[in-house]
């Protein structure tokens, strides 16, 4: 007899069963018990005029619908992959994604669309990458060999990314340990995805070819917090050169996570460091859930190699009546998953269950947009029980089985069934090798692609090796910024508040603070606090003009010192500078309506104000009086007399 189960309840039970806690609740022991391991691949665009392998300008972007021409390509696995690729990659090819590239003359030439071989590698980019490789303490190679790394998703029109190792085996410090670096490479950035719907994927070629470095760490991070810290350090280190791009998408991390018994899963394209902890946390528990599912399935299934799905056609009209977005010409197929009862509603991530693992693959591999499946453990679905009991009967169901309906364009259903079959078989092995992408800030991810096979690197026959001699390295090494770690020590000594450090690193303001405090008479803690609090505050509201450069801060300080203006004035001038980065200090002064006044002139007002206060206020409160006089004089005092001196003078009755 067919009987439906309460999926919602089951999700709650299984969530508890795997011991899921939120990131906030999690203690380090939890990660230790899970056997949590995380490694990072930190990508950082370099600030160069031109792209890496052609002479197009780098860093010019346009909106997805702004293009001048389109071309279409299909990616085909090359012969060797046919032997080595797993079934899914081949299926992905067979489903035939039409990949459209959008071009604009301004930032793409025939190199981007693979109609011209590469031009010699951009030397400006190479120089920057070697500087950063030195900062990472890696061993620099003697000769750069440009290698092709295959990608079949279409994100690069050639089907491969040109990349080369600059250095290997480095080391970076984080708070309580050192993180080992596997390698640092220089490579061309890929296309930006505009959309991916059904069989059509659209890319923009604007970002393609922008010089990028990738720093790969060992899986040395044992908690989500360590992973974020390492990511932050590598980002700051690149920023400290002042030769890398900033802004959304200029720095991105691929985060590799595994737990004991699990598999390395890669979460791609994480563009904010603060997303690393929730993403790695949730992924660790997803793996835990999949391992638990594996255990259950193994107990239920005697002979895994003979495990097979059964399917039967389902009448569209019932599904349409139940409110599913089916087109008339769509086909629906009812599927029995032997031994999968209570698995489809098994908790995997917040708001997600095992059924989503199937649905997401059907979307990517069979190209059927979601919703593409309904199942009998979905408590919210309005599909009548008859649909499932009918599948139960027609496919020879058992009470240990799960039932679902997959629906979509007729031509894609066979692939969808195959995809579901394959994913279910992978469940017997535990955690599939795959790349995933973030969908929200809570750390939930969705399936992106099957991980490519291991043998996807081969030499680029279009480019010659480039020798990197000792002279070149020592020239680049002679002008390196100081270590982030050292910078923090110095700033601590300077008594700059520690909460300002991240902002100072991320905008690489340390050199300016150092210059101001060395060449002028301002204290570093004063400068650091202005930068780390006041400027950060404006920056956080996106109110800084794009043309602003932090080196301009020096000009303001220098100006005030030369003119013997009080340091308080700096605080009034800087907000104007942030909005009008090209305004000279004199004009800024007149913008804030500052007039140079003699100290004596200001002080001479005190006795008069003193009298005035006495007529306003009947109470004899010296504190209130002083505050009132200060308030009256402040607008003309700032910049002309220090507020402390003024205050002292008021105390002295204006005779100071």
């Amino acid at each position: 007899m067919y009987k439906r189960i309460n999926g919602k309840k089951n999700t709650g039970i299984t969530k508890k069963k795997i011991g899921f806690v939120t990131l906030k609740e999690a203690t380090p022991d939890i990660y230790e018990d899970l056997g949590f391991k995380c490694g990072l691949e930190v990508h950082q665009q370099l600030l160069t005029e031109q792209k890496l392998f052609c002479r197009c300008p780098a860093g010019k972007y346009q909106k997805g619908d702004d293009f001048q021409a389109e071309i279409v390509r299909h990616m085909r696995p090359t012969l060797s992959e046919l032997g080595e690729y797993d079934g899914t990659a081949l299926m992905e090819f067979k489903t035939r994604k039409n990949i459209t590239y959008r071009l604009k003359n301004e930032n793409a030439c025939t190199y981007e669309i693979d109609d011209t071989p590469p031009f010699p590698l951009n030397r400006e980019a190479l120089g920057i990458s070697i500087e950063i490789a030195l900062l990472l303490k890696t061993s620099i190679v003697g000769e750069l060999h440009i290698t092709r790394k295959q990608y079949l998703d279409g994100s690069i029109p050639t089907g491969f990314q040109r990349t080369a190792i600059v250095g290997i085996e480095g080391l970076i410090p984080i708070r309580n340990k050192k993180i080992r670096i596997i390698q640092m490479s220089i490579e061309e950035d890929s296309c930006r995805e505009i959309s991916d719907i059904g069989h059509e994927r659209i890319y923009s070629t604007d970002r393609l070819g922008v010089p990028l470095i990738e720093t790969v760490t060992y899986p040395d991070m044992k908690t989500p917090a360590e992973a974020a810290e390492a990511g932050q350090y590598i980002r700051f280190l690149a920023r400290s050169t002042g030769k890398v791009r900033t802004g959304i998408g200029a720095g991105r991390e691929d985060v590799n996570v595994s737990i004991k018994g699990g598999t390395r899963v890669e979460i791609k394209g994480v563009s904010r460091i603060k997303w690393i902890p929730p993403l790695t946390h949730v992924e660790a528990f997803r793996q835990k859930a999949l391992l638990e599912i594996k255990k259950i399935l193994e107990e239920r299934t005697k002979n895994v190699p003979e495990w097979e799905i059964r399917s039967t056609p389902v009448d569209n009209s019932i599904l349409i009546k139940a409110g599913l977005p089916l087109k008339k010409e769509y086909k629906a197929s009812g599927i029995r998953l032997p031994g999968f009862r209570a698995i489809l509603s098994f908790f995997t991530q917040p708001e997600k269950t095992f059924a989503d693992e199937l649905s997401e693959r059907v979307k990517v591999i069979a190209c059927i947009e979601k919703p593409n499946i309904v199942h009998d453990e979905d408590s919210s679905s309005k599909i009548p029980d008859e649909v499932f009991s009918d599948i139960y009967t027609k496919t020879g169901g058992d009470e240990k089985d799960a039932f679902l309906v997959v629906f979509g364009p007729a031509g894609d259903i066979a692939m969808a069934e195959e995809t579901i079959r394959e994913r279910c078989l992978l469940a017997f092995q535990g955690v599939p090798n795959e790349t995933r992408k973030a969908v929200n800030r809570e750390g939930t991810t969705i399936f992106e692609r099957v991980l490519p096979g291991p043998n996807r690197m081969y030499p680029d026959t279009d480019s010659a090796p480039i020798a990197i001699d000792d002279g070149y390295i020592s020239k680049l090494g002679s002008d390196l910024p100081s270590d982030i770690y050292d910078r923090e020590k110095i700033m601590k000594n300077w008594n700059i508040p520690e909460d300002t450090f991240p902002y100072i690193h991320v905008r690489n303001i340390f050199p300016v603070i150092k210059k101001i405090s060395e060449e002028l008479s301002y204290s570093p803690s004063f400068v650091g606090t202005i930068v780390g609090h006041r400027i950060k505050n404006v920056d956080g509201k996106n109110a800084i003009s794009p043309g602003f450069d932090h080196s301009r801060l020096f000009d303001i300080f220098e100006f005030c010192e030369k003119k013997k203006l009080d340091s308080e004035l700096v605080k009034l001038m800087i907000p104007v500078l942030l909005i009008h980065p090209n305004m000279d200090p004199e004009s800024i002064l007149s913008t804030i309506k500052f007039k140079k006044r003699d100290k004596k002139e200001i002080i001479s007002n005190i006795p008069l104000l003193d009298k005035q206060f006495n007529t306003i206020s009947k109470k004899n409160d010296p504190g209130a009086k002083k505050r009132w006089i200060m308030g009256q004089l402040r607008p003309i005092a700032v910049g002309n007399i220090s507020l402390r001196e003024l205050s002292n003078t008021i105390n002295g009755g204006g005779n100071g």
């Binding site: 090359t78 060797s80 109609d115 620099i140 000769e143 089907g159 085996e169 690197m457």
Partner: protein
């Protein structure tokens, strides 16, 4: 012995010998730059002698400067040995039987990931492994005639190829595909157009602009298009089948005598010049653009005319060309010269005496235009008439390379210059057309609004 050190020379070779390691050794290397581990790879012959190449465990290759290396320890030895997976090409009753001739270009290939070498796939089984769609189109057999780069194809190969085609036709093949490097494909196409006449079946030449070892290669789709053309079309001519647009969209079937490679690297490099192509082709369909071609027949008759005189030259005229350029050819016993002249077919006056000397020496001299589009018109200016009086024969709208091939083929048959002229000026395979259609000359100019509109609307 030196095979253990593939490609290494000088200091690096000494170093390898000193530490008793060889190519394919798995090694730990200590250097002044740090420590490196990997497998020693062969060194390309043209690269310098001062670097050692290793493959890291991550799959990347790097080079190390010999002078920085302090120690190398061999931990193991792993020689790469690659074979192409072969699957039997399925035979289907009722599908056309096609023959694929290989000349040396790689149509399909697999990569040797360690060396980066491209191993060509060629047997039907290998091709089936790479392009399984072929089995939906035809029954395929293959024969490797030569293994030369496109630029080394010449008269000797044209003749072997023509004879092999003749043999296949007489044996009743349904269509022929010729895999060819793209650089000189149009030369070979025109040679075969003259040497193989009255073919009852399609003879389709095909190549690729992006090597088949990359996922975005045009090789597989070109091969599928060529196979479809050879299998189901009724275009019984020598044609070239390559990408129409640079997008993976449709192929164009060009007449062998009017096609030319017009871009050094674009996928859509092959264009019909001064005329329109014969047809377009997609995976399973050929759509005619014109109807004036030789139709497929059921017989096995074909004329093979495998002749070629090698002492001929094609010279590209430039201002201030000196007469000794022509004189030296006469002196060296050249029998024919094709000139690609300026404009309507001109060269400068100082060359005239040399042209006279060529005439006296019995050298056949033919004029073509370096504008590629348009006819030679030597009656328009006096200078043209002067040249004709010195024996220079205008060759209508034959493309320079085609005139070169045809002159070699004509002189291969006879020394009688009148007969040669007769052969040269009688159209055989569309190399001379009686008229130029309005849409035979289309080089769109980018930037013009209506052209940009077109570009945005259709996949380029």
């Amino acid at each position: 012995m030196d095979d253990l050190f593939k490609g290494y020379k000088g200091e690096t070779l000494k170093l390898l010998k000193k530490f008793n390691v060889r190519v394919w050794s798995e090694v730990d290397i200590k250097s002044s730059r740090g420590e490196f581990s990997g497998i020693i790879l062969p060194r390309s012959e043209n690269d310098d002698e001062t670097h050692l190449v290793i493959k890291l465990v991550t799959g990347y290759n790097i080079g190390l400067e010999t002078g920085t290396i302090k120690n190398i320890i061999e931990k193991g030895f792993k020689e790469a040995n690659y074979k192409i997976p072969e699957k039997e090409f399925p035979y289907s009753e009722g599908k056309p039987n096609l023959k694929l001739f290989g000349t040396g270009g790689t149509i399909a290939s697999r990569l040797d990931y360690r060396t980066g070498a491209v191993i060509p796939a060629f047997s039907p089984g290998e091709l089936y492994g790479a392009v399984p769609e072929l089995a939906d189109i035809c029954n395929l057999s293959t024969e490797k005639l030569f293994a030369v780069f496109s630029e080394n194809m010449g008269p000797e190969q044209y003749i072997v190829l023509a004879k092999a085609i003749g043999e296949q036709i007489r044996n009743g093949i349904d269509g022929i595909i010729i895999g060819h490097g793209t650089d000189t494909m149009h030369h070979t196409a025109s040679a075969l157009s003259f040497m193989v006449q009255n073919s009852p079946v399609p003879i389709v030449m095909v190549g690729s602009q992006r090597s088949s070892d990359r996922p975005s290669s045009d090789a597989a789709l070109n091969l599928i298009h060529a196979a479809t053309t050879a299998a189901i079309s009724d275009i019984a001519e020598v044609s070239v089948c390559m990408f129409g647009p640079t997008s993976d969209d449709y192929g164009l079937i060009h007449r062998g005598t009017r096609v030319r490679k017009m871009h050094s690297s674009y996928r859509s490099a092959f264009r019909t010049i001064g005329d329109v192509p014969i047809a377009t082709v997609v995976r399973d369909k050929v759509t005619k653009i014109r109807n004036d071609y030789n139709k497929r027949r059921n017989d096995k008759d074909v004329n093979i005319l495998p002749y070629f005189e090698e002492k001929i030259a094609l010279i590209y005229y430039y201002p201030n060309m000196q007469p000794d350029m022509i004189d030296s050819l006469i002196e060296k016993g050249y029998k024919g010269i094709v000139i690609a002249g300026t404009g309507l077919g001109h060269v400068n006056k100082p060359l005239y005496p040399a042209l006279e000397r060529a005439q006296k020496a019995g050298v056949a001299v033919y004029m073509t235009v370096q504008t590629l589009w348009g006819f030679v018109h030597m009656f328009v200016y006096d200078t043209g008439r002067d040249m004709m009086s010195k024996g220079v024969i205008p060759s209508e709208n034959m493309l320079p390379e085609v005139a070169y091939i045809k002159l070699g083929w004509a002189l291969g048959q006879t020394d009688d210059l009148e007969k040669v002229k007769d052969i040269m000026l009688t159209p055989i395979a569309g190399e001379i057309t009686s008229r130029e259609p309005y849409n035979g000359y289309l080089i769109y100019q980018g930037g013009i609004p209506e052209v940009e509109e077109l570009l945005k609307k259709y996949h380029k």
